[in-house]
Amino acid sequence: MQTLGIINEMLGLPEVASEHGGMVDHLLEMVHWLMLVLLIGWSAFFVYCLARFRTKKNPKADYHGVQGHASHHIEIAVVVVEAVLLLGFAFPLWAQRSTDYPSGPDVVRVRAVAEQYKWTMHYPGPDNKFGLSKSDLISGGNPLGIDWEDINAKDDFLYTELVLPVNRECIVTVTSKDVIHNLSLHPMRMQQDAIPGSVSDMWFKPISTGRWQTICGQLCGAGHGGMVGYMEVMEEKDFDAWYKENVPSAKEEKLPEADPEKSDKAS
């Protein structure tokens, strides 16, 4: 498999950092091998024909040309390979992506909210439940319009970067405040449009730590090229420490009523 993967490497594919990404790369390399074989086959045939059948060499053309059925066999072979790729890899892999959502207390949930031209990450806090957010509450101090009165919002916090733990399943819920953006995580082999008025989930399991840039992959206005975000995958214990640090402090939690102004400052 490693030797087959050389085609991806030659083509500049970046390293993979998610569990399912390996399968994506595998599928990609198989498709590329298929393409390469076809391209080389065609080109060889092409060049040979051009040399062999040029007017000087072959002044009299043959009315019938190729008589055999080799082309049919090649076409059928291509169909078979495509069918295998489709049925064997593409369908089951996407079925897994779109239906087998992980659940349980261990799953990390993040809401990634896009606007021109930045991302804001909304973490649900220890209760793993997002507080309500309403577009008419949006203001300078409350960029996502979170209803801080909501019971689920008490322990929520905002962050400018996407921080995730390694080896834990993560669900990133993507949405947008204004136009369509796109959260593109190349090391995770994942991309999801942030469509205003809709929320879309994507899930993956990071398998290596690191810090990468995230891309806005959908034209979103004049500043599109500069809408750089960051994603950091940490060791689990570092992540837990980071999480705890950012949750509105325990003191405030014990207060009968959380002060919206203060929890706001968590961002």
Partner: protein, 647 residues
């Protein structure tokens, strides 16, 4: 009766031609003409001009990508409004977006489709089926003028204070709906002009499509049965259907977006859109009702835009399909399978559109359906290409200039087609979507692909249209640098795309240094020494490499422009009405065909590609060469033996 005889005959009659027809005034003959050939020329000239406009926009963009921190060179800046540049004379994000959107629009809707379908379709189709003109000549004129109007509206939008449209050629809502909302008069904005321009262009295409299909179905000459139609005509028929049925949904989308922009509707605007103020709209909640869906626009748009891909490519394949047998002097291999393949393609093209929308988050059922149809549609494409490749076997290949373009088309289109395959798979697409991999893929299909096919067509039918040949040497000077430059531009994009370079970054990725500064050639390596004084070559340096080839490609077009105009007036005269010794019907008409096209009533006696028939005096047996006279209108194909043994 041989071809030579009929040629002599037609020339004689041609000489008298002017006496028969009363001379029309200039504006009626060349401006508001109803003659399909004149309309074809009008389309060709207008579309070529638009192709160069689109090319210019691309040069500015590529400059910005390669040198985001350098002033735009005067030769490029000379044609644009200086206030669009920033205070150091560099390209801004707004300008880049505007040019990006208009490059796509102009190339697709004002350049390639009108050239491929409007110009070649108009000029060649009636000639090839032996019709005196299109079925509805006045409608034909109307289509051209709708197209012209659309083009004027699109170009005029550059003059507006807001500039032209700037939300990508796809015009996704809500960006397209909310862009340029800060103008006092929303009618006078580039976005709105774009929509009205599209309505004109779509009307033009619809009228054209009705005309083409009717012409092909109803105006075939005596003996021109379905399976005797040249492949070009088949492709035009299928293209006509694609335009006819796919364009109306985009018209709907355009009308809805017009309603959104001008009447305050919210078809594509969801509830609670809130702008932070960084965009062009005032900060805060948008003052609309909401309740619409941005995805609806995407569905309607891609319902057109995927078939549109085949509208772009089929005429080019068809042109190659005409030129190839002529220059290999044997019939095209698998004519019937090509016809069926093109029909299947025309069918499937309508039900693959959502593969452009994988990243919108798609459920399992929809995704499975669209992945399957997308992969299936690759099969007829492979069949078409394979048939063309296999045709070469056993031929006697002449390397004329049109043939060079046609031959180059095959591998270029092959690369473009093959690289579409990974994009068909949902999960891979999640990595590659909107990266340069996609850009390279579809540009290989339409730039070195379709445009090469169109150049081939221009060189091939030039003598029919003007009576003169284009210059051979200049043709070579045009072809070889173009071939090299095209690959120099698009090949590195695959690498960039795999690495994660996204499209529509006006600075070519300078902001994404983590992705773009990956090293390809180490410090001190051979290429590093060669190109960058020993410094390591990074991914982003490919931008400079590609932009260099854009200049090469630009310079390579000058021989063509010169050749085109020079040859119209001073080119070598074609030695006969059939200078390429071809078989299809258009070569039986006199050069510069008169109004009504044919001097004697054309009859098709056999299939379209009867080259090197055994026992025939010459190596080509034209369709119009008198043979078995038993053919009548509407009769099914006579047996193959009867076709071949006519002489």
């Amino acid at each position: 009766m041989g071809a030579e005889v009929s040629t002599a005959e037609t020339e004689e009659v041609h000489a008298h031609d002017d006496d028969h027809h009363h001379e029309l005034p200039f504006w009626k003959k060349y401006v508001f003409s109803t003659d399909h050939k004149i309309i074809g020329y009008q389309y060709a000239i207008t579309a070529l001009i638009f192709l160069f406009v689109g090319f210019y926009l691309m040069m500015v963009m590529r400059w910005s990508i390669a040198h985001p921190d350098k002033e735009l060179p005067g030769i490029l800046a000379a044609f644009l409004n200086k206030s669009w540049l920033n205070d150091q004379g560099m390209v801004t994000g707004d300008l880049y977006n505007m040019f990006g959107a208009m490059h796509g629009t102009i190339m697709v809707f004002l350049g390639i489709v009108p050239l491929a379908f409007g110009a070649f379709g108009n000029f060649v189709t009636p000639l090839q089926i032996g019709a005196p003109d299109m079925a509805f000549p006045r409608l034909n004129m109307a289509s051209y003028w709708f197209y012209f109007l659309g083009g004027v509206v699109m170009l005029a939008s550059f003059m507006l204070p807001s500039g032209a449209a700037e939300a990508g050629w796809t015009m996704y809502s809500p960006l397209a709906t909310t862009a340029q909302l800060d103008e006092p008069n929303l009618w006078w904005t580039g976005q709105t002009f774009w929509l009205f321009g599209m309505v004109f262009l779509i009307s033009s295409s619809l009228l054209g499509a009705v005309n083409f299909i009717t012409t092909i179905i109803n105006l075939r000459c005596r003996g021109m049965t379905w399976m005797r139609m040249p492949f070009f005509v088949w492709a035009m028929l299928v293209t006509g259907f694609l335009l006819l049925l796919a364009f109306p949904p985009l018209e709907v989308a355009a009308i809805m977006q017009i309603m959104d922009r001008l009447a305050g509707a919210s078809f594509f605007i969801p509830t609670g859109l809130n702008f932070s103020g960084a965009g062009s709209v005032d900060a805060g909640l948008l003052d609309v009702a909401g309740g619409g869906s941005p995805l609806l626009y995407q569905h309607l748009f891609w319902f057109l835009a995927h078939p549109e891909v085949y509208v772009l490519i089929l005429p080019a394949i068809a042109i190659v399909g005409e030129i190839l047998p002529n220059n290999i002097r044997r019939p095209v291999w698998g004519y019937k399978s090509m016809v069926y393949a093109v029909m299947v393609l025309g069918f499937l093209a309508f039900i693959v559109w959502a593969h452009h929308m994988y990243i919108t988050g798609m459920g399992n059922v929809v995704s499975t359906f669209f992945q399957a149809t997308t992969v299936i549609i690759s099969i007829p494409s492979v069949i078409l290409l394979t048939c063309l490749f296999i045709s070469l076997w056993g031929g006697s290949i002449r390397f004329t200039v049109p043939m060079l373009w046609a031959l180059a088309f095959l591998p270029m289109f092959g690369i473009g087609g093959l690289t579409g395959l990974p994009l068909a798979f949902n999960l891979i697409d999640l990595h590659l979507h909107d990266t340069y991999y996609v850009i390279a893929h579809f540009h290989y299909v339409v730039a070195p692909g379709t445009i090469f096919g169109l150049f081939a067509g221009i060189y091939y039918w030039f003598p029919k249209a003007t009576g003169r040949m284009m210059n051979n040497t200049l043709g070579h000077l045009h072809f070889w640098p173009s071939l090299i430059a095209m690959n120099g531009i698009f090949m590195p994009m695959f690498v960039q795309g795999m690495a994660g370079f996204h499209r529509r970054w006006y600075d070519g990725g300078a902001n994404y240094d983590e992705i773009t500064s990956r090293i390809i050639f180490d410090e001190g390596s051979f290429f590093a020494n060669l190109f960058k004084d020993g410094q390591a070559i990074e991914m982003i340096d490919l931008n400079v490499f590609m932009t260099f080839f854009v200049w090469v490609l630009c310079i390579a077009q000058f021989p063509f422009i010169f050749n085109f105009f020079y040859s119209i007036f001073k080119g070598r005269k074609a030695d006969s009405d059939n200078p390429w010794r071809a078989t299809t019907l258009e070569w039986s008409a006199p050069n510069k065909p008169p109004h009504g096209n044919f001097v004697t009533e054309p009859v098709a006696y056999r299939g379209p590609y009867e080259y090197s028939v055994k026992g025939h005096a010459t190596d080509y047996t034209p369709q119009f060469e008198r043979g078995d006279d038993g053919v009548i209108l509407g009769e099914e194909d006579p047996p193959a033996a009867a076709q071949n043994d006519g002489h």
